[in-house]
């Protein structure tokens, strides 16, 4: 009812191929059609966001409107990647929602501390995951206004 014009691009960083598949299916189940792209760790995430190496083509790697971030990943974990995104003036405007198996209070608090715009504990069932993704989309796609970067910058 509020924002219907522009499709929202999601980018998910998760090293677990099964979880990536589940998220992809949950997105398809959750009706509102949006594109979702995947990277497998924090190094790839930052490469993607900075259009480096194999992510230089904006058609293959469009700048996301929202990032879904796993915490425990090899090479560069979610906490480091989040801190790096939020300290980069060109990237910090992108909302990052943590989506992880960790229920540790320390992870929850630290994530909000360094700038997460939500912390979701991965539901154990597929139905639970679909419900969470639906709620996520109702908020970020339907009622929230996200920045339109080209309208302001460049």
């Amino acid at each position: 009812m509020f924002n219907i014009a522009k499709p929202v691009v999601f980018l998910m960083a998760d090293d677990d191929p099964d979880d990536r598949l589940l998220i992809k299916e949950a997105f398809q189940e959750s009706l509102i059609s949006n594109s979702i792209f995947f990277v497998e760790d924090g190094v790839e995430l930052l490469d993607y966001l900075r259009h480096q190496d194999r992510y230089s083509d904006p058609d293959i790697a469009p700048t996301p409107d929202l990032i879904l971030l796993d915490l425990n990943m090899p090479r560069k974990d979610g906490r480091e990647a989040l801190a790096e995104i939020k300290s980069d003036p060109h990237l910090r405007y992108i909302p990052v929602v943590v989506l992880t198996t960790s229920k540790a209070e320390e992870d929850i608090m630290r994530s909000y501390d360094i700038g997460a715009a939500g912390y979701i504990t991965k539901p154990v069932t597929f139905d639970g995951l679909v419900e969470a993704i639906k709620g996520l989309k109702r908020y970020w796609v339907q009622i929230v206004r996200l920045p339109v970067i080209n309208a302001v910058k460049e």
């Binding site: 405007y93 939500g118 009622i143 206004r145 309208a151 302001v152």
Partner: protein
Amino acid sequence: MIHPSQLNTVLIADDDLDDCVLVKEAFGECGDNINLTFVHDGIQLLQYLRHQGVYADSSATQRPDLILLDLNMPLKDGHEALAEVKADPYLRSIPVVVLTISSREEDVLRTYELGGAGFIIKPTSLNDMVEVVKVLNEYWFEVVELSGIEHVNKIKGRNFVQ
């Protein structure tokens, strides 16, 4: 993932009293598990969060789970207040969602750059406000996990009064 029993606290900063009434009615339509508190400018917001001024009696003020923030307010506007909350190590983990009549792209971008966790254009009708509040409650109090006050105390080593 659903936490039906707990009473969640939302702190609303808005100088327009009609808008405050609308927000209150909309929350009222969405159930009674939310404890709402209103402040009317950015200075009051910071004083409330820091137990200063008229809020020095800290037993009367509860750390909110979520802040809804208007942008155009007297004394200290929403963006200034947001920057201050996000620069304060004891407050920055509280999510702040902007709720404003502004639809300026600059305001949207600035909100996210300052660490806002959402930018919502304030609906003018009660029906649309109820729709917004429903989705807002669902996201912040059912879908996501929030950080409890007891953990802020334990991890940061300072006593906030609950």
